[in-house]
Symmetry: C2
Subunit: 292 residues, 2 copies
């Protein structure tokens, strides 16, 4: 676990430097838009998706650093989804990553456009992350995961489920889309850049799918037990607003069991890998035990 924490600390610095480099300078007009983009990405977030891209690039046979700009593109897509999800018409959240949400720090129009611009920038970056063939695979993978069959579709299902009792299967489908699809895409994209073949990519993607749901369940558990300071956002909000969560449906003990199951499945997806998949293996326990 110490090696993982060292990896996370070191690579987060690299990711943050690259994010800084890839974002438009705040002085460039329209300055407010560029400031809002930078505000929303810089200085917050666990960088789980970028770290997964780097880890899976190595697991797929490449070097971590080859996947640095693709890693940042994933974080831009994640940040855009948070900006739009936090809007008053959506989840209406004032706090994110320990600071005011984008529409609170700026205004709604700026937040909508900053999200739009970050999503677009992610595709611009992705079009030049590696060889033309690999870059194109990355663009396609990202677009599928982020679109109406993936993340955006999951967010829509989440909104529609508010205040309703839905089947546990539908809750899982929703989360697999809303959180899981982009995390799985991060793993696949890392693998693509690392040079992995189709079968290996599928395994990395399976790993990501299970890890994504594990991440969501631990999120739901923390949402019940952690403080606003630990989370950097308002805790207990989902349960209060009548949204079903894994803890409200299963209870906390059962939710923890489900998390352990998914952790085992994620680890099993990496069975055929050797030492090159050490970091993604260690990450499973790290997420299972996370406190924030």
């Amino acid at each position: 676990m110490e090696r993982l924490i060292k990896f996370i600390d070191e690579k987060s610095v690299l990711v943050n430097q690259e994010i800084e480099r890839l974002l438009p300078k705040a002085e460039l007009p329209p300055a407010t838009l560029h400031e809002a983009m930078r505000y929303s990405v810089i200085g917050g977030g666990k960088r789980i998706r970028p770290l997964l891209v780097l880890m899976c690039c190595q697991a797929g046979g490449g070097e971590f650093d080859e996947a640095l700009s693709a890693a940042c593109a994933l974080e831009f897509v994640h940040s855009y989804s948070l900006i739009h999800d936090d809007l008053p018409a959506m989840d209406n959240d004032d706090m994110r990553r320990g600071r005011l949400t984008c529409h609170k720090a700026y205004d709604e129009a700026t937040a909508i456009l900053a999200g739009d611009a970050l999503l677009t920038l992610a595709f611009e970056i992705m079009s030049g992350v590696s060889s033309p063939k690999k870059s194109l695979m990355c663009v396609k993978t990202l677009a599928r995961a982020a679109g109406s069959a993936g993340m955006v579709g999951g967010q829509m299902m989440d909104l529609e489920a508010e205040g309703k009792t839905i089947e546990i299967e539908d809750l899982e489908i929703m989360h697999r889309r809303k959180t899981g699809a982009l995390i799985a895409a991060a793993c696949r994209i890392g693998g693509i850049i690392g040079g992995a073949e189709s079968e290996t990519l599928d395994k990395l993607c399976d790993y990501g799918r299970n890890l994504g749901l594990l991440f969501q369940i631990t999120d739901d558990i923390l949402d019940e037990t952690a403080t606003a300071e630990e989370l950097g956002k308002t805790p207990g909000k989902d349960a209060k607003s009548g949204k079903m969560t894994y803890t409200t449906v299963y209870g906390r003990e059962e939710a923890l069991n489900k998390a352990r199951e998914l952790a085992a499945e994620a680890t099993a997806s990496l069975h055929d890998f050797g030492a090159e998949a050490l970091m993604p293996r260690l990450l499973v326990d790290y997420i299972l035990q996370r406190k924030k």
Copy 2:
């Protein structure tokens, strides 16, 4: 002009069929999201950007139909920008293309997500429009044109200018980004798929840049003179909300002169082309004379 109108009528049918094919089916869950995406794209709009892609594909040496799915991707990006621009936090418009705007027909959250999903779908489509090399050039061209240095940046400048007196140069920069960038990208993307070389692509792009501004100025003129029925949206809204337009700044006569100048420049960009650029040439006059 008759040949152009025949072209527009015929190719619009093809474009609309392909749009229908490329959009997710309305039955697919989440159904409301897919319905809202379809509602916003199908059954309205002049399809100027898709038609430009087809025309410039031929001007660049290809066949119209090779560029059909790229043409639709451009329309998806245009539709997404209209959905987001119409939101209450932005231009707050109730009518678009003769019908209720997306957030009026559905709700704000659905409209935000439908826009997000259409933009994402455009990149998914663009990743497979031609050979890997050409597809990648198209993705990059689209992303640059749609992002914070292009369309989204222009929309931000437009919002910031509301109620203020800005320099005429800044009005032009704003429009060149807000409308011009995507129209120029449509022309370049058509050329890329048609197999044009870099110098030819630049000429098509110049043509598109001038045509885009011409389109905006005729829009401003029509906004003063046409009826809601002709426009399919509320006329005179920009002037009323204190936005500067070409007619409020230059006056109608001078705006018309500026339009004629741009038409001449657009035509001049096509000077070195032969019969393969007949349609883009005819389109210049068509836009100069448009009544809706």
